[in-house]
């Protein structure tokens, strides 16, 4: 690229359009957003499910939005789609989380594919191990990146495995103690004393174990996403979950059964004691029930509030490859992860001997409505309801938003960003000015991606020009020569991406392409 010309784009210093130049019919398609000082244009992602009546063809007038029971004015509704496999104008944010006990060949393969085939140097990458969160700079040296990620994963998986082994052995000791009590069959108040001791302490310990090793912790998801802040680029969370044996669950279930039998056998005189024990056993039983313990709804809510698409990938560790049988609890967990993924626009997949889990999820296309409304945010928490065609059935969106979640977005949307101004069509030249992009401190340049596309009356793209340029001035004027043979009603869109700030602006206009006689 030379300093003055960039493959089809003529760059000049900004100047106003000269009076008297021929301007063809051009009008603004969208009115400006009526925002008060405290309001931001809030974007809500709304997805359809199979059960609802909403159709992809629905328009703005088909939607209604209620915030804490009051109707809010919707400013725009745009139908959008995204997929990891589709090219994105802005750098994307990837969060890869792992719950695994060994760095297996399956992880190595999927991670290699991810780094080599998916992630670009403009993307950002976070790795959430069972122990901590890491942010990695994505360089072109993917081999080095893979090695560094492998090192942290190997270390943290080892720690996680050791922690699980020691926690399980502690819990097993307690369980064996309870089994001994039942076997010794103490009579009278003694059985109550000893069983109550176990039931007072064990359920809480087991719940912590379960949260740490067996089910996802939605609070942790929220913490991570809040820490990362809110950006304009797409956000993708890919979770890797290793198939695991049922752990202590089966043993605990056996103990519960034995305890229940003993309680049932307690005599009439000890009925009250039996009732107390029964309540404690039921609580323990409840915490064992994965479907109840798994906060699927809460997790979907967290992901939606942060507008993250979640994919889940399941795999076998090398040492479990031959095991064959999956535990019921893991299948339950996998199903719930699958539901979470689907609700957030993502997918779930298994890594097989010849299949890469990552390859199965990256092609998944998330289709959604981007619903925009002016909002000053909730005091603490707001409940949102969206209706499409008069019904709220079959729609998925962030139905509860907290002030902190709103503030994260407000911080982004209230900041100035790249602008497109002075748009004009003069003869066969489209001219516009680009301003407000971030410029690097060193070298004092901005990096802008510009795309101009023209569609005919049948929504067919008839012209496209795209380029990336370094801009050293505060503003640049772009002139793009359009093909001279374009006729009739058209619509053009100008997309400008500030590559350093990772933000973009799109301007769309209807226009009539006709050449005036000279």
């Amino acid at each position: 690229m030379n300093s003055g010309k960039s493959r089809g784009f003529l760059i000049k210093k900004s100047r106003p359009v000269l009076a008297g130049e021929l301007i063809l019919l051009v009008f603004t398609a969208f009115p400006g957003l009526p925002l008060s000082a405290s309001e931001i244009p809030f974007h809500l992602t709304v997805r359809r499910t199979a059960e609802g009546i909403a159709s992809p063809a629905m328009k703005m007038e088909d939607f209604r939005l209620m915030i804490d029971g009051d109707e809010a004015k919707i400013l725009s509704v745009a139908k959008k789609r995204r997929s990891i496999a589709l090219k994105s104008d802005l750098g994307r944010e990837f969060i890869l989380s792992f719950k695994a006990y060994e760095y297996s060949s399956a992880i190595e393969r999927d991670l290699s594919t991810f780094l080599s085939e998916i992630v670009e140097t403009s993307d950002s990458l976070c790795i959430l191990t069972p122990e901590q969160l890491f942010r990695f700079d994505v360089s072109a040296n993917k081999g080095s990146l893979l090695r560094r990620i492998r090192e942290v994963l190997e270390k943290d998986f080892r720690t996680f495995r050791e922690e699980r082994i020691s926690t399980e052995s502690r819990l097993k000791r307690d369980l064996n103690g309870a089994v001994r009590v039942l076997e010794e069959d103490p009579q009278g108040f003694e059985i109550y004393r000893q069983m109550n001791l176990f039931l007072n302490v064990f359920p809480e310990q087991f719940r912590r174990y379960e949260k740490r090793f067996l089910v996802p912790d939605s609070k942790r998801f929220d913490e991570v996403l809040s820490k990362l802040g809110f950006g304009e680029g797409e956000r993708w969370w890919i979770h890797f979950e290793e198939y695991q044996d049922p752990g202590l669950s089966e043993k605990v279930q056996a103990v519960i059964r034995d305890m229940s039998d003993h309680i049932a056998e307690l005599g009439q005189a000890q009925q009250n004691l039996g009732e107390i024990l029964k309540t404690s056993v039921i609580k323990l039983e409840e915490s064992l029930s994965l479907s109840d313990a798994f906060p699927s709804k809460e997790l979907v809510r967290v992901l939606s509030a942060h507008d993250v698409v979640f994919h889940a990938v399941f795999f076998r560790g090398d040492s479990l490859k031959e095991a064959g049988v999956e535990s019921a609890s893991f299948m339950n967990l996998a199903a719930l992860y699958g539901e979470t993924a689907a609700a957030s626009g993502g997918a779930a997949a298994n890594i097989g001997a010849d299949t890469e889990g990552i390859a199965a999820v990256v092609g998944r296309v998330d289709e959604y409505f981007d619903l925009t409304f002016a909002w000053a945010g909730p005091d603490e928490k707001a409940r949102l309801r969206v209706l499409a065609g008069g019904s709220e059935e079959g729609l998925r969106y962030a139905d509860i938003l907290t002030r902190a979640q709103f503030d994260a977005r407000a911080k982004l949307y209230s900041r100035d960003k790249i602008k497109i101004e002075e748009i004009s069509l003069e003869k066969d030249n489209l001219r516009f000015a680009v301003k407000g992009y971030v410029r690097a401190k060193e070298g004092d340049f901005g990096l802008i991606k510009i795309r101009v596309a023209l569609q005919n009356g049948w929504d067919q793209e008839i012209f496209r020009e795209e380029n990336v340029m370094r801009a050293t001035k505060e503003a640049v004027t772009i002139r793009i020569p359009l093909p001279g043979d374009l006729r009739g009603a058209s619509r053009f869109s100008i997309t400008v991406c500030d590559m350093l700030a990772n933000r973009m602006t799109v301007e769309e206009r209807d226009c009539s392409m006709k050449r005036d006689s000279p």
Binding site: R109, T113, S116, E120, A140, G143, D354
Partner: protein
């Protein structure tokens, strides 16, 4: 800028050699054999040149040659040899300088004189080995290599000898010798850097597994295979073949500039071909700045299509720097048992047994503007003429069009116009353009704006050889067939029309 894809083994050696130099000024002779030319040059630069002995000044010349400063080396040599009787050491340095400039015949003469004067001159033998290697007389290079290691046991375990051995035994396809080299090197590193030693052990294991596998060989009974080039994408090279497997299409770039011979970039392809991985390597990839990390890799057999396949592919695995990069990169110049042709007219890759090799070149309107001995064990160097001056061109099908070495352009007095381009990683790179006419035999290539770059990154650190020009596939596209014959050791450029290619 020309595309580059160099095996990183040498770079790895350089990095390690730097450790050798840590904390103390290195002995330049020792640093030379350890391949640490930068440190050796620095130690000379800090000293008063006039106070240096003749031996040191000649060593400095050998080092300058291998740090891309052949012009300066030649100037110093001229000053040294003037008025002095011919000695083996001077003739040896002269041979090195000639080699670095690609003056093969002069280098041959000088090295012969040096060895006549002193048959045990280690530098002269080193140049002799490299000349045989580049002339593709691999058995001869092995003989001289053995002689060097026997007559100079002190340098036997050095990095330079190690990497020289790798080049020779890779060319010979001698897996046992390669395994021994890696085991010896690993033992040397054992107490110094355990992790690096482990990587070398992993490489040795690869060669153990390859004991009976012919290197870079076509497997199959057919006399001839013709693989069509993939339809060229906008801005991409023509010389890409497609391997289809398991519902995926992998794009393989045929790149005569790939010094590793074989590079896998797609992890899925690595898995599908059951590629075995060895120790860490570093390599330069395309126009990406810096060294990319990867591993050594060995593919025992690759069933490409309908009984046709390739065996014994040694090389490197380097994950793609960006997702739209090629999935693999194969250097056709490494194929040992077939005459290979990159047909830029019919847009196909042709592999033929020796007997069938001539059948495709009987085009009624074909002529052969260039038929020359093949120079280069890892690439394709051919003689060229530009501005009335002889030079050496590298046919580099991983590059783009024609580009010129800055020193060569300056030597010709070509007008240079400055330009800037942003590389794949976003770093600005300055270069020039110039009008130039290059002749390869009777094929004339005229460019109004050929790119001019400093070609130091194309330098072979073993010899300091830097090509004067690079001929990329865009120069050949639609007009030429490039044939590489490993039996006759010839390079043939065939074309349909004889008009000069003006772009």
């Amino acid at each position: 800028m020309t595309g580059r894809n160099r095996v990183g083994l040498w770079a790895g050696a350089m990095l390690l050699a730097l450790r050798f130099a840590e904390g103390q000024a290195p002995d330049p002779e020792k640093a030379f054999w350890e391949g640490d030319f930068g440190a050796a040059a620095a130690s000379f630069e800090s000293r008063d040149e006039k106070a240096l002995s003749l031996e040191d000044r000649l060593l400095w010349i050998e080092i300058l040659v291998r740090t891309g400063k052949s012009g300066l080396a030649e100037e110093k040599l001229r000053g040294l040899s003037a008025g002095r009787p011919a000695s083996s050491a001077i003739k040896s340095a002269e041979a090195s300088v000639h080699f670095a400039f690609g003056r093969r015949e002069e280098a041959e003469r000088a090295v012969a004189e040096a060895l006549t004067l002193e048959p045990v001159s280690d530098k002269a033998v080193l140049t002799r080995i490299c000349l045989s290697l580049y002339s593709r007389d691999f058995a001869d290079s092995e003989r001289w290599y053995k002689r060097l290691t026997e007559m100079s046991p002190g340098i036997r375990g050095s990095a330079l000898i190690h990497f020289l051995g790798l080049r020779i035994f890779t060319a010979l396809g001698d897996a046992s010798a390669l395994r021994r080299l890696y085991e010896e090197r690993s033992a040397w590193w054992e107490d110094r850097d355990e992790e690096y030693a482990d990587g070398l052990k992993a490489d040795a294991r690869l060669f153990r597994k390859a004991a009976k596998t012919p290197f870079f060989s076509v497997v199959g009974r057919t006399e001839e295979e013709r693989l069509p080039f993939a339809p060229a994408r906008e801005g991409s090279r023509a010389n890409v073949i497609v391997y289809e497997a398991g519902g995926s299409k992998y794009q393989i770039l045929l790149d005569t500039g790939n010094r590793a011979g074989w590079t896998i970039h797609h992890p899925g392809l690595l898995h599908r071909l059951e590629g075995l991985q060895g120790g860490r390597v570093f390599s330069e990839i395309g126009t990406h700045a810096g060294l990319m990390e990867g591993t050594a890799v060995f593919v025992r057999e690759w069933d490409f299509d309908k009984g046709f396949g390739l065996s014994g592919l040694f090389g490197i695995y380097v994950p793609k720097p960006q997702p739209d990069f090629y999935d693999a990169n194969l250097n056709p110049a490494f194929i040992r048992n077939r005459v290979v042709a990159l047909d830029f007219i019919e847009r196909r890759f042709r592999l033929a047994v020796r007997e069938a090799a001539g059948s495709d070149s009987r085009r009624p309107d074909a002529d052969r503007p260039l038929k020359t001995p093949w120079f280069g064990d890892q690439g394709v160097y051919v003689p060229m003429k530009a501005g009335g001056r002889d030079g050496l061109a590298l046919i580099e099908t991983g590059a783009r069009d024609i580009s010129i070495n800055l020193d060569f352009a300056r030597g010709l007095g070509l007008p240079l116009e400055a330009r800037t381009r942003y590389l794949a990683g976003g770093e600005p790179a300055s270069y020039h353009v110039t009008p130039v006419t290059i002749a390869l035999g009777s094929a004339v290539f005229e460019r109004k704006e050929a790119e001019v770059w400093p070609f130091r990154q194309l330098m072979d650190p073993l010899t300091g050889l830097i090509p004067d020009a690079v001929i990329g596939p865009e120069a050949l596209d639609g007009e030429f067939v490039l044939t590489l014959d490993p039996f006759e050791n010839t390079v043939i450029l065939e074309r349909r029309e004889s008009s000069p290619a003006v772009k």
